[in-house]
């Protein structure tokens, strides 16, 4: 009896070794940073609330066997178009957030169809293709906002359009919607005379989206995602429309990314028109992997734990770097190394496993 219990504890540690490692790293970093608890708590809560939808948007493509969706930035762009839209019409409050989500929806669906079509032409190379697709789309995004606004798209608001009347300014104040959802249900906890805001409404929205994904996974479509993710050929034979299923996965992911970006910006309150979306794919992917997801498997637990741990590390590393090495910059470089490194390790592990399986399979076929 006793050995059994011990074994299962060891198993638990083994199964969750990645999140545990980052938990230890984060806690050590926190101790080194000397940041007061309420401040840390506020940052962690805000970062969790504003990043979680973006991280959740990675789950469906992973289930459908398309790996980490680095084309997430394209969804974020759709979201930012939505924000430009409400800014042009000077809408604010929760209504403004809702309008921007509504406006971003058809764009995101369209972008998702485009991404899906392209990734269907690059099967087995979805991740690198998605990454490059994101870069490419970024060029188009800049072109549209620099040359299209004021010429084809009739936006006049001098607060966001450049003095010449063409092109958007580099940054955009979002004070009209700042915290509008986060503080829709005002709730704060006072810890050591420090108010810690808890964005109840945002967490409710996240819960709703999580529930919707959960529900979706149990439908026929959800089964198809898993089947396609497991084996495309067998799915095809079984009568599943593989390409269409993958495209739907991309559409869902892109729409969620668009909404996620809007929620993100709602919390930040200021948009860097040409840069705010660029790191979305990187940070979200790193977060879900730190939560224990792999290239082929991810769930809500991974998303929540990973977002928490990644952003804990993110918050404490500059101060920890300063206290340990006398240079905050070291901490900042360390955290970006962690983000890239975690993704690299996950991809290497996945690719090694796949290469071994391929080898075994080809050895089998040779024996036959």
């Amino acid at each position: 009896m006793k050995t059994l219990k011990k074994l299962s504890l060891l198993d638990l540690v083994k199964k969750n070794s990645v999140p545990l490692l980052f938990l230890i790293l984060g806690l050590l970093g926190w101790m080194a940073s000397g940041q007061p608890l309420p401040m840390l708590l506020q940052e962690v809560i805000y970062r969790l609330s504003r990043n979680l939808i973006l991280v959740l948007s990675l789950i469906v493509p992973i289930t459908a066997g398309m790996g980490l969706n680095f084309a997430l930035v394209i969804g974020a762009m759709a979201g930012q178009f939505g924000l430009v839209f409400i800014k042009a019409l000077n809408m604010g409050g929760v209504g403004g957030v809702g309008m921007s989500m509504l406006f971003a929806l058809p764009l995101a669906i369209l972008f998702g169809i485009g991404c899906g079509a392209i990734l269907n032409r690059a099967k087995g190379k979805e991740m690198i293709t998605g990454l490059i697709l994101g870069f490419f789309a970024n060029g188009l995004y800049q072109l549209v906002l620099l040359a299209g606004v004021g010429t084809i798209i009739p936006i006049k608001n001098p607060e966001i359009v450049l003095a010449a009347g063409v092109g958007l300014r580099n940054s955009m104040e979002l004070n009209l919607i700042n915290y509008s959802l986060d503080r829709l249900i005002p709730f704060k906890v006072i810890i050591n005379n420090w108010p810690v805001w808890v964005p109840i409404a945002t967490f409710m929205l996240i819960g709703l989206i999580a529930f919707a994904i959960h529900f979706l996974q149990r439908t026929k479509l959800g089964q198809n995602f898993r089947a396609v993710g497991q084996d495309k050929h067998i799915s095809e034979v079984a009568g599943i429309h593989v390409d269409r299923t993958r495209m739907i996965a991309m559409i869902i992911s892109t729409v969620l990314a668009a909404w996620g970006q809007i929620i993100f910006m709602q919390n930040i309150g200021k948009m860097q028109t040409y840069f705010s979306h660029e790191q979305v794919g990187l940070f979200s992917a790193a977060a879900i992997l730190i939560g224990g997801a792999t290239i082929t498997k991810a769930n809500f637990g991974n998303a929540i734990v990973g977002t928490l741990l990644f952003h804990l590390l993110f918050i404490v590393s500059p101060l920890a770097g300063k206290n340990l090495f006398g240079d905050a910059q070291i901490g900042e470089y360390f955290r970006s190394f962690i983000a890239y490194g975690v993704i690299a390790v996950a991809i290497v592990m996945y690719a090694m496993k796949k290469a071994r399986a391929d080898k075994a399979e080809s050895a089998d076929s040779m024996v036959e």
């Binding site: 910059q329 360390f334 993704i343 991809i347």
Partner: protein
């Protein structure tokens, strides 16, 4: 044979050239002609464009050449050439620290870069042998992680030269390090040609040409042919007794070494080192260049290297003043670069993709 329908003729010429050179090259070429006509119409200085194009070609060329052994040995487009680039930068810092100057100093630095990049290249090649089929995704993220890891090292490496470290604080390497007192453009100072008042960089072009020739010759040696065979059809190569993994490692290492040499050639022409996140997206430039030249993920020749680099650089150089005269906003040329270079990479990725 009466008069043919001119539209049909154009269509035929189009199909023929696309067949022969591939879409990217034909489209970029036509785009370049359009821009050139516009430039002449605007009264821009053509000799200046030619000089800038040749200078940029001599800078990027060796990095583009670094793509060749990767493609030939079967690892595909080496998005992780940043590993070689980092080795080149490290060697460069060592060279500046040691105070090496002039053409001799440049080649001493390259001599330091070669063993450094050979070691990391072999380790990288070993890793790529473990991840067959996913080399490009792996190499991209290995490259990204190495660049961000080196960011920490640039801050803490014990370099002392006052031209390299921050003036305030007295430690940590600077973001950009000027090479005008060491080996910046030394080859072109030694050897250049006057062309309508513009100095053409003959020295570094000869260097690029020499390396191209060496690669061309290498691919015709027994070893080169073996490497191509391993990359072309690994199963067949293994069946006739070629150690495919070894050939792939050789190709990867060569690519990495050329990446290091290419970085130093780039810095030589540019006159600066750019550390920290400078090399992060650098691999995408030579990858795009070689694809514009007409290479695919499996087939490449030296002519792809040369024509691709020249075409891409000419396009970017000429686009800047032409477009800024049409639309007075500086950011457009950067936008064009992003769209063109990622567009061709995307095209290559989706074309050879197909149900696998």
């Amino acid at each position: 044979m009466t008069m043919q329908n001119p539209l049909k003729l154009v269509g035929k010429a189009w199909a023929g050239s696309v067949d022969r050179f591939g879409y990217p090259k034909v489209i970029i070429f036509l785009f370049l002609i359009l821009l050139s006509v516009l430039a002449i119409g605007q009264g821009q200085s053509m000799p200046g464009f030619i000089k800038d194009t040749l200078l940029r070609t001599s800078m990027i060329g060796v990095l583009t050449l670094a793509m060749v052994p990767g493609i030939v040995s079967g690892i595909g487009l080496n998005f992780g050439v940043s590993i070689g680039i980092l080795a080149g930068l490290l060697a460069g810092c060592i060279g500046v620290e040691a105070g090496w100057k002039g053409v001799g100093g440049l080649f001493l630095t390259i001599l330091v870069a070669i063993p450094l990049s050979t070691i990391v290249g072999m380790a990288y090649g070993w890793l790529l042998n473990k991840v067959k089929g996913d080399e490009m995704t792996v190499s991209t993220y290995i490259g990204f992680s190495m660049v961000s890891l080196m960011c920490i090292f640039w801050l803490i490496l014990p370099f002392k030269s006052p031209t390299m470290i921050w003036a305030i604080g007295g430690k940590g390497l600077r973001n950009t390090i000027a090479l005008d007192n060491t080996f910046g453009q030394v080859m072109d100072k030694a050897l250049h040609l006057n062309f309508f008042g513009q100095q053409l960089p003959i020295g570094s072009l000869l260097w690029f040409g020499f390396l191209c020739l060496m690669m061309w010759l290498f691919l015709r040696t027994k070893l080169g042919v073996t490497m191509s065979a391993a990359g072309d059809n690994p199963r067949f190569a293994a069946a006739i007794g070629i150690n495919v993994d070894r050939q792939r490692m050789l190709g990867t290492t060569l690519s990495t070494v050329l990446g290091a040499v290419g970085m130093l050639s780039y810095a030589h022409g540019y006159g600066f080192f750019q550390l920290y996140v400078g090399p992060l997206y650098m691999p995408f430039i030579p990858v795009a260049a070689i694809l514009i030249g007409g290479a695919t993920m499996r087939r490449v020749t030296i002519s792809h290297v040369i024509s691709g680099t020249i075409l891409m650089q000419a396009l970017l150089i000429i686009a800047l003043p032409v477009i800024s005269k049409l639309v007075p906003d500086g950011a457009f040329s950067e936008v064009i670069r992003i769209i063109v270079s990622n567009g061709v990479i995307l095209y290559a990725l989706t074309r050879s993709g197909g149900n696998k």
